[in-house]
Amino acid sequence: MSQRVRVNPITCEAHGMCAELLPERITLDEWGYPIIDGEPLPEALISHAKRAAQACPTFALLVERDGTRPR
């Protein structure tokens, strides 16, 4: 079952830690807010993604497993 990163845009305050810790999936727009590539994470990136989520000061970054939520 694949995992993906997603951001809660309401709680995100553009600290930008995520883009530093997971540049393979996250870049920043001109205001510092993350642009997320929601493709499934390869095995090698999962621990980096989780670290990025833990590093977010507002806990806005989520690592989600497919099928854990409806639709």
Partner: protein, 457 residues
Amino acid sequence: MRSPLSTQTALLERDAPTRLDVGARTLPRLLRGAGADGAPLALDDHIATHGELPLEHKRRRRETSRLIEQLERAGLRGHGGAGFPTARKLRAVAAARGRAIVVVNATEGEPASLKDRTLCQLAPHLMLDGAQLAAQALGADEVLVAVCESASASVETVAAAIDERRRLGGARLRLSTTPPGYVAGQESALVNFLSNGPALPTFTPPRPFEQGVSRRPTLVSNAETYAHIALIARHGSEWFRALGTSSQPGSALVTLSGPVANPAVYEIEHGASLGELIDAAGGPTAGVRAALLGGYAGTWIDGAHLRGVALSDEHLAAHGATLGAGVIALLSDDACPVAETARVARWLANESAGQCGPCINGLDALAATVAEIAAGSAGGDAARRVERLTQLVRRRGACGHPDGVARFVHSALATFEPEFSDHARHGRCEACARPAELPLPAHTHTSARRTAQAVAR
């Protein structure tokens, strides 16, 4: 917007009525018997016109409601804009754990739409019938009817209609007045407000069907959708499908505004010709430069193509448009489409709930760039920057507001390419100074946005 409630319920049927079956085939359906004097159809007259409320017998547990099956066969889809299949939504609420609650979304925050107000003011009982039937199908004992506090006539008629229905029984009906604002009627914002929160969108999931008002499974549907439910429950799915197209059966309320003799709310059959609708509205009073379909989150269609447009989603798809909540806003040849786009884009940017960075910054930059093009003060790459910004904001808000604004601006740039190029090179045109045509509320809600930011932080 002028002429709010002239219900010119023109009989806009797709073809000549060749199939002459039961009398109810013709339009109007939703506004039948209503509107002659602009007064709401009182309960007795409503029952005389449409018949008694066909409440179902008690069901055994796990037995699917007959209503849901009827709605499925009818092919009813929501009339709030997204067009989601209504039966599927009811099934999702029915399958969720906990006692369900039903919400009628009559907030109608779309400035170019008046159809839900029209329904509230002329046929409130049909809408309330549908909500109580849906409640019964879901085992819900409470219906919340959400009407914008600024629509005072609707608030009054719905309150009076709820009062009148006390003798009927069924799920308890409660009126809830909501604050104004373009995104206040967005599904999650409405649920948030009805759960004693601010009228601001929330991060989903959970979606309302699983965890809505007071964390209960919640059916949120548009006011008009419930009115269709009330008719399908009475007349059946075959009757419903006798009008419309096979992929979009039934009728719809549409709000036609702009340079026609009688801008008003009309009931049309899905697939009806836009040209005939314009004729039914007394014909054009000026040349039509373009038509905006689906409201300010919608799509422009060039005036050159309007005569051939059929008002159904499968036909409109060829133009990249949908009927959405039934907004058809015509723009005359006299108006400046660039100035109009700049004005609406700024209003929409200010209507951001102010919660999500990409929406706050992206829509502001988008509106500012369009304004620079309109003034002729933008650099040579401004059109490209607009395109880039419309790409940048998509799918990056908690709700669909940035996507809607991006669609509107992108479509304006494509449809009014000659005018945009002209403004980029030469600045304001003669038409820029003319009075604005596209309807916007007198005041904006930038204050709501600041409140939102205070709440969010």
